[in-house]
């Protein structure tokens, strides 16, 4: 009985936890917009910059240019070489991360309040005046090539490559933004300079900051940091046309455990049914939760250590993806269970009890995501990119709770396509 009482209380505490995140919308003197959460109790700041475009911007034949460019930002500027830059950064105890994704590139900085100006002046050099000198280009090119070579013999990477080629047609998503050994080998300094100009532009920028800084200080900081970036970047890509043939494709590879990726069409992030679909996935294969796939494939049959599914609303394609790994002699059984569960959920839907459990879990787990300055900064930038209002952090759980059994089961019928569920299996699977 006490468990039931505890459940009734959770929605209340979830709301309280999120209300503590007080988001300010800030505009710098020159007009750069940002979201800020002031958290003065620890003397540092987490700053997150995100530029739309990412690896999708690579021109034909230049696959990997954006990724290599981002890897070179910290490898020397007009004023200092790679080692001088790293020493200056470490002496300030600042850290900068430069990451490439298919849809965007990100800059994540962390710096002490006491040396904010020096830390930002250094970051400005990396963003605005990287030197892309030949020695650094060759060194980082070799690192990227090493990583590409490793991915040739990694079953997960092989599966992901094969899957991209099957599903995405001629869209950039069909190949990896790291590029191929061939494309990366031929990239020139001019290609890198062009990638920099294409990717880091003000017309596609989203900013958030969390930590020991005021709105006014942040505005001045952003103007100093970003003023010299170009106004506009390269045109963004078109929507992808996806193909799901519903087959099970095997890529032979000598390894004891087969790795399987599976997917069908997903749903756009701004679809009115998105929360229903999100809860549906939580029940089917969501993480941190006794999902149907986890129960059937792992708990009841011991066929895998891990199985999960995810709605993946990318900028130019929507997928519903899952993955599982089982010994070569057992993967066929695992796949068969997944196909059965997929078909069962499509026709029978979920129960009121499952819906309630998923809602309780999701609404309770949501505030736990806000557990550090850096995590909050990433959440805030993601919200802006999805065009959500600041009030979303308090209204989000209401939207989860508003999903009805009728709605979620309608979405199960309409969205789930067991016949389109396409598998890529890498390994030496028996019986496939």
């Amino acid at each position: 009985m006490k468990y039931l009482i505890a459940i009734c209380l959770v929605a209340f505490s979830a709301l309280r936890a999120v209300a503590a995140v007080d988001i300010q919308e800030v505009e710098s003197p020159s007009g750069i917009k940002a979201w800020l959460v002031e958290e003065p109790s620890i003397p540092f700041v987490a700053l997150e910059l995100r530029f739309l475009g990412g690896g999708n911007l690579d021109p034909d034949g230049k696959r990997g240019a954006t990724n290599l460019m981002m890897g070179l930002l910290e490898e020397g500027t007009n004023d200092m070489d790679a080692r001088a830059f790293a020493k200056a950064r470490d002496s300030l105890a600042a850290s900068y991360r430069f990451d490439t994704g298919a849809d965007d590139v990100s800059v994540s900085a962390r710096f002490l309040t006491e040396n904010t100006d020096e830390s930002m002046a250094l970051l400005r050099q990396a963003l605005v005046s990287p030197s892309f000198d030949e020695a650094a280009l060759e060194r980082v090119r070799q690192q990227v090539l090493t990583s590409i070579r490793s991915s040739q013999t990694d079953p997960n990477d092989i599966a992901s490559r094969e899957f991209g080629a099957l599903v995405y047609g001629d869209h950039p998503y069909a190949t990896e933004y790291e590029g191929t050994a061939e494309s990366v080998a031929t990239l020139t300094r001019d290609d890198i300079v062009a990638a920099h100009r294409n990717a880091l532009a003000m017309d596609r920028l989203y900013v958030s900051a969390v930590g020991d800084i005021s709105a006014e200080e942040l505005g001045v900081l952003l103007d100093d940091l970003l003023a010299d970036l170009p106004e506009t970047g390269a045109p963004l890509p078109q929507e992808a046309r996806l193909t799901f043939d519903g087959e099970t494709h095997v890529v032979p590879f000598e390894t004891p455990q087969s790795v399987a990726l599976f997917a069908q069409p997903g749903m756009k992030r701004d679809d009115p049914d998105y929360f229903a679909a999100y809860i549906l996935n939580q029940i089917l294969g969501g993480s941190g939760f006794d999902s149907r796939l986890m129960t059937e494939v792992r708990e009841k049959r011991g066929l895998t250590y891990g199985i999960g599914s995810y709605l993946v609303p990318r900028d130019y394609a929507e997928l519903w993806v899952g993955q599982v790994a089982s010994g070569n002699d057992r993967i066929a059984d695992a796949i068969s269970v997944v196909r059965d569960e997929w078909a069962k959920l499509a026709t029978e839907g979920v129960s009121q009890e499952e819906l309630d459990q998923a809602k309780t879990y999701m609404t309770g787990a949501y505030p736990l995501r806000f557990d550090s300055n850096a995590a909050i900064a990433k959440i805030l930038v993601g919200m802006q990119m999805q065009d959500l209002p600041t009030s979303y952090v308090t209204s989000r759980n209401d939207m989860v709770n508003a999903v009805t059994l009728e709605q979620i089961n309608r979405v199960a019928r309409d969205l789930m396509q067991p016949d389109a569920l396409t598998f890529v299996v890498v390994g030496q699977p028996a019986g496939l």
Partner: protein, 451 residues
């Protein structure tokens, strides 16, 4: 804390005050049955991390049952006399929380991230499964398949992980750290319910456990709840000191060759047996921590990167690692990925020359100062993650360190001299106490490696 003159002396002042704040918000006490409790207050949000650590890990397993500590960790999510199989995690989820567990050579820990007002329920359930675990043979059999698939995923599908097991087995000639935490496959296949329960009965007791609660809580409330739920559980009077077989004098360097067609990039791995952090005695471990950061802790500025990646194009990657958080002797490891056209032998010779040069020259003062500055700042950054702080205290107490050792760690590191670093390097980097591995695809392309 000793004053050190730096261009950023303000950092020092801040770190000092932060360290003080950090000790003020940590409270420790011990229940009458011997269970240690650590409370870390962080009132920035209304969440908390609740952890129960057991001072038992894979290195404490009976011979021939490798993997039982980790297998038991999985079985702890089955039922008890009061709860059905799977109900523990389902209840955490129904309260909007997430839960999991992990096993190392030295400890096993269970945790939940949950809203702060759910602590009482979490403690009640953890106390329940500390002594009242129940399971069926069928559950045990199915879960054994799960851990075998976990081994498939983590080890069999990764040639790097396969070699790492071989290397540890060669480094530790007598100590159980040479046996993998997940277990050797042929022993995992035979693990039984009896193996799990006998391990459980011996080691899962309040006097072998540490409760760590971090987040929006106050120590008095935690004390009251801990006394209510864990207080009634009797200690195990038969628990002895944690004494494992130790290493004999290591007199012969070991060299391994490993090939696997899944290796796309030949590399070299060298591990040396090394001292660990001990209660009240952390200086050599602190010196080794700095040594690792100086030699290979940064892909651009560390000594090996400078010599092997910038001054010469010998390697595309070089790095070192040292983990002082260990109950018994730990390891100091080098990894080196040669550049195109450089053989493993050539790369190894260049690495050994660089190590010898470093020992002869000693660390450059500006390099040491820069790394210490980062250490000071890491104290500030560490305050941002409540769960990391809970982990830090829990792991330390589980390997016999004290709260004071945790709080003295950064001041100790900052106090280490260049001379102590060189002495530690001379003492530890002795190839008679090392294993060197050449990892290749076994194909002709890796010229110079197959002799």
């Amino acid at each position: 804390m000793r004053a050190i003159l730096t261009p950023f002396s303000l950092t020092l002042a801040l770190a000092a005050s932060t360290a003080l704040a950090q000790s003020e918000d940590v409270t420790t006490f011990t229940l009458e049955n011997g269970m240690d409790v650590v409370v870390i207050e962080d009132h920035r949000s209304q969440a908390l991390t609740n952890m129960v650590w057991y001072r038992v890990g894979a290195a404490d397993e009976p011979a021939g049952t490798s993997g039982i500590a980790h297998f038991l960790e999985h079985l702890m999510f089955k039922g008890t006399d009061d709860m059905a199989a799977g109900e523990f995690s389902a209840t955490v989820a129904a309260n909007g929380g997430t839960d999991n567990a992990f096993t190392s050579q030295d400890y096993t820990a269970y945790y939940q991230n949950v809203a702060a007002d759910r602590l009482d329920l979490m403690l009640e359930m953890e106390a329940d499964r500390m002594v009242d675990l129940r399971m069926t043979d069928q559950e045990v059999g199915t879960e054994r398949d799960v851990i075998l698939e976990e081994r498939n995923m983590r080890v069999e599908n990764s040639p790097q992980a396969l070699f790492s097991e071989q290397s540890d087995a060669a480094l530790y000639m007598n100590h159980p750290y040479g046996i993998p935490v997940i277990g050797w496959r042929q022993e995992m296949e035979e693990l039984s319910q009896e193996d799990a329960l006998s391990f459980y009965k011996e080691y899962y007791a309040p006097n072998n456990a540490i409760l760590v609660v971090a987040g929006d809580v106050n120590p008095e409330d935690v004390r009251a709840m801990a006394e209510e739920h864990f207080g009634p559980i009797a200690p195990n009077p038969d628990l002895g000191p944690r004494v494992r077989p130790q290493e004999p004098p290591q007199l012969a360097e070991r060299r391994l060759k490993f090939s696997d067609p899944r290796i796309s990039q030949p590399y070299l791995l060298r591990s040396y047996l090394a001292p660990e952090r001990n209660a009240g005695d952390q200086r050599e471990a602190a010196a080794l921590t700095l040594l690792s950061r100086l030699l290979g802790g940064n892909s651009t500025t560390s000594y090996l990167a400078t010599k092997l990646q910038f001054d010469t194009q010998t390697a595309v990657y070089s790095g070192t690692s040292y983990a002082g958080m260990s109950l018994d002797k730990t390891k100091f490891t080098f990894v080196l990925v040669p550049a195109d056209g450089v053989s493993l032998e050539e790369a190894e010779a260049a690495m050994d020359q660089a190590i010898a040069d470093f020992i002869a020259e000693g660390p450059a003062p500006e390099d040491l100062e820069r790394i210490k500055t980062q250490f000071r700042a890491s104290e500030i950054y560490a305050m941002d993650s409540t769960s990391s702080r809970a982990n830090r205290y829990g792991a330390a107490l589980a390997i016999g360190l004290t709260v004071e050792d945790v709080q003295q760690w950064t001041p100790t590191v900052l106090d280490i001299t260049a001379e102590e670093i060189v002495d530690a390097a001379k003492s530890v980097l002795d190839r008679r106490r090392s294993v060197t591995g050449y990892i290749t695809s076994g194909m002709d392309a890796d010229t110079g490696t197959e002799g």
